[in-house]
Amino acid sequence: MKRYSVFAIAREAVRYHMGWERAWASPEPKPAYDVIIVGAGGHGLATAYYLGKNFGITNVAIIEKGWLGGGNTGRNTTIIRSNYLQDPSAAIYEKSRSLYETLSQDLNYNVMFSPRGVMMLAQTHHEVRGYLRTQHANALQGVATEFITPQRVKELCPILNIDGPRYPVLGALWQARGGTGRHDAVAWGYARACSAMGMHIIQNCEVKGVRSENGAVTGVDTTKGFIGTKKLGMVVAGHSGQLAEMAGFRLPIEAVALQALVSEPIKPCMDVVVMANTVHGYMSQSDKGEMVIGGGTDGFNNYTQRGSFHHIEETLRALVETFPIISRLKMLRQWGGIVDMTGDRSPLISKTPLGNCFINCGWGTGGFKAIPGSGWAMAELMAKGEPGPLAAEFNMWRFKEGRFIDESVAAGVAH
C-alpha cells in the first residue's frame, strides 16, 4: 500500500494522477482462514483491523453480502459522542471517541473527524435533572461534559429558538469534544488498512449457513462456496437475528427501521451538533452545507430499509419548532437503515453458545460513534477468547441474569 501524503499528491500531480492504486484488493476466497468476520461495515472492518494491529492476527476474511460500508455505516447521521450515563457505556464510547481523534493518522486515511461539539438540549425539568445526573456521572467516568445555560446554548448555536413556545430550552448537556465524522471514509479507511495487512475483503458474498460440529463453528456456507474458519465473528447489525438463527441461537433483538434525511445545501449556519430529545429530532450541518437530520425509529419489525412517512413529518415538525430558520428548506434525500434494538438499548459484544463464535451487535440507533471502540473490544474478545474490560459487561447473558446496562430508561436519550 502506498501511503497517502502531501508528497504523494505532488508526485501524482506531475504524472497526471495515473499512479493511484486501488484502496483495497478484491481477492477470491481461500478455502479457510484463522478468523472470518461476517459483515464489512464499520464495526466488522474495525474488528479485523484491531485483530491485526493489536494481536497480529492477519489470516482474516471479512465477508460482505453487498458492498463494504453499504449498510448502516453508510446510512447514519455521523454523530460521535460519549456522554452516556452507565459506566460500561461511557467507557466503551469514550474509548471510541478518543480513537476517532487520531484515526486519520492511524489509518493514513482522512476520516474527517470534526470535534465540533455535541449539545443535548434539556427542554423539560425532568430532562434538566437527567442531564445534571449524567454530567456528574461523566465527571466520575472521566468524560468531559458540562451542563450549560440557555444563554450559552444560544451563543453556541444562534439559529436555535430557545424561547419555546412549547418547550423552551432550559439548558443543555454539552460535550465539546464530540462531533461528526465522514461515515464512508471510516469504512474505507479501515478496509484499506485491513487489505494492506493482507486480509481478504470479500464483497458480494452472502452467508447462507453456519456449519458447526460439537458445539464449535467449522465454517460458513456462502454464495461463493464453503469457507472454513477457526473463529467466527458476526458483526452484521440489523441482520444479526438471521445469522444467529443459522447458528442455532436466539438474540434479545428486534430489527426496526430508523430514518434520516438531508436538506438542500445552504451556507454555513451551525457549527455544532444539536440533539433535542424531548421533541425528538437532531441536526447538524455537513461540510457540503446540507442539514443532516435524524429522529426516532419506526415501531415495528422491518427489514426494508425504508420507514414510515409520518416519522419524517414528526421529526421535521419538532425541528422546525426548534430551528425556525429551516422551515422553508427543501429536503433533498431520505433513507432508512435497519437497526438492531436490544432489550436494554445497549450492545452485545459477547461469546455465544457456540465456543468459537462471537457476536457484536445491538448498537441500535447509535452504532457509528462506537465503531473504533467496538472493533477494539471485539478484537480483544476474539483474539483471547475472553472479553477484556471494555466488553465484559456487554455479554448476551446479562438479560438472563438481570444485569442490564439500562441506557434507554436511565438517560432517556436518542441513541
Binding site: G241, L251, I253, E254, Y303, T304, H310, G343, K400, E401
Partner: protein, 111 residues
C-alpha cells in the same frame, strides 16, 4: 404507511392510529419459572425476515389489542385477527401460504 384492519371495529386504520406491540403468541412465564424460560419470554425474539405475527393496539380507535400477520421483508399484510387465540387461525395460515408457498408454521415444533 402501514394500514391494518382492526378485526373488532372493521376500520382500516393507518399506522398513526395504531400502537405497535411487537411479537405475538409469546408463551408467558411468571414466578417459579427458570431464568432461561423467563429470559426467553422477556427478551429472546424470533425477529424474522419474512412472515411475522405481531400485536397491535387500535389505540386511537376502539382501544383493543389485536394480532396481525405481516411480512417484515416486503411490508405485505396477510391479515389481522382477534387476540384471544394462542396461535394464528387457519384462514390466516391459508392466506400466508397462498402468497408464500414455502412458508411453514414453526410453533408446533417449538411449543
Amino acid at each position: 404507511m402501514l394500514t391494518l384492519e382492526c378485526p373488532y371495529c372493521g376500520v382500516m386504520a393507518d399506522e398513526t392510529e395504531l400502537s405497535p406491540g411487537y411479537e405475538a403468541h409469546l408463551k408467558r412465564f411468571g414466578p417459579g419459572a427458570s431464568p432461561e424460560e423467563f429470559e426467553a419470554y422477556m427478551f429472546a425474539r424470533k425477529n424474522p425476515k419474512g412472515v411475522h405475527f405481531e400485536r397491535w393496539r387500535h389505540s386511537y380507535g376502539c382501544g383493543k389489542w389485536f394480532l396481525a400477520a405481516r411480512c417484515t421483508a416486503t411490508l405485505e399484510v396477510f391479515g389481522t385477527y382477534p387476540a384471544q387465540v394462542s396461535e394464528p387461525p387457519a384462514d390466516i395460515i391459508a392466506k400466508i401460504q397462498a402468497r408464500r408457498p414455502d412458508w411453514q408454521p414453526d410453533w408446533k415444533a417449538t411449543k
